[in-house]
Symmetry: D2
Subunit: 139 residues, 4 copies
């Protein structure tokens, strides 16, 4: 059994393209918010605090695989059901199912890392072990 956290959003007019359906990069915008929302709901402090305590600046994506099953449009209420499917040393698999009522709209599986800054490099990042206290909060 893994913990599942749900993030809810309204699709807005401006999220849709001339075909009147959600323009797909917006799904990734929402999934990124759902990823953080998952950690916040689990009690993990925000990254700007984790940078001070753990040196961690975020959980950037290294791999994402998404399937788009049905279209969504403005006025729709979507739910993103988020869980961590696997912990893998310096990375983890985060899984998302986006639903509208009983319908599956899209699903996505990501590999993310816990990232710290690389010394002396303003934009370089490096992967670090998932801190035990963060893993415990997400269990």
């Amino acid at each position: 059994m893994t913990r599942e956290v749900t993030y809810t959003l309204q699709v807005e007019f401006g999220d849709c393209d001339p075909a009147r359906i959600v323009w797909f990069p917006n799904f990734f915008r929402w999934i990124d918010a759902a990823s953080r929302h998952f950690f916040v709901q689990c009690g993990v402090p925000p990254w700007h605090e984790l940078e001070k305590t753990h040196g961690i600046i975020g959980t950037p994506l290294v791999d994402t695989h998404a399937k788009f099953v049905k279209t969504a449009s403005y006025g729709d209420t979507l739910h993103i059901h988020t869980s961590i499917a696997q912990w893998r040393g310096k990375s983890f698999v985060q899984r998302y199912r986006v639903t509208r009522g009983a319908e599956l709209i899209m699903e996505c599986e990501e590999i993310r890392i816990f990232a710290a800054r690389r010394d002396g490099d303003a934009t370089g990042i490096r992967a670090v072990e998932a801190p035990a206290d963060i893993r415990a909060l997400c269990a």
Copy 2:
């Protein structure tokens, strides 16, 4: 041998997040532009013309798999090298390699369909066969 088309862009300040690197949904924004740019460079008319002649309203995504290899930040010039890896009846595989000079930044492989409106349904779409004249233009 498949045709490859290159789309070039500048990473802007607003494309980057508090970690000072490109916020990943922006890569999908650029890839979507590169997808269309590919067809335009191949001589395929814009979708609002194709809607009149072929009933096709676009090439929505049904599956995407992306790997993020190196970070990019503002001031970077990125090149997106786009090709069609496979034609599959009502869908096709479009492939992208995003580079900064000689470095690979990310790569992505998508399955897209040629979409037409579903009768009597404002936002519903259905897949149609890739028109032969469009396939010929992209060869």
Copy 3:
């Protein structure tokens, strides 16, 4: 006395720029959602229904003036307080105050029109009189 409707949002990591504050175009994204949310809360049908009944496809912006008073960052909860300051024939003034608790973050005043399609022109629009039934709903 004019009706005021409040739209609430969470600022996400990806809404912020390398200066760690909300990248300002995102305020306009939220204001556009708040504009529609105002009409929905007043009982005005969504535009895709209004297109059928009134020929109206939306309320595009013709003028906007915004003042940015304080910065906001991720984790903040913002409230957008929306009202219609004035009805002017074919246009109206919509006003927004964005707050975080008791603090004013930004404010904005827009002129929008009720738009219909121009005959025989796929992207052209023209202003039409604000329908009396819509004005009554917003009073």
Copy 4:
């Protein structure tokens, strides 16, 4: 006579909304890029370098006023003509005219400041005098 710098962009499908016209927050995205492009073309170093040499982290907006004159849609090439209309101690007025060929699409006038971090405050910023060397580069 003030210096004018032109920034050119292609309107993409995903920049447009269900009314098939540019969704207006995207104009602010482009204007923000044009603002920085102006300084880069004038020879001003990027902000991540100016942070080290001048403590300046950017030129955040404090006021913007935009007029939308004509709609634009995907496939359009837009030019943003940028200049500095006035220097005012700790702020300056930046002006933009967005054109498509000979047509004016929108225009915008902003007040921006040169911002430095406020000590001991991760997201707080304060206005500083426009450095003389930067003003000289923009003349």
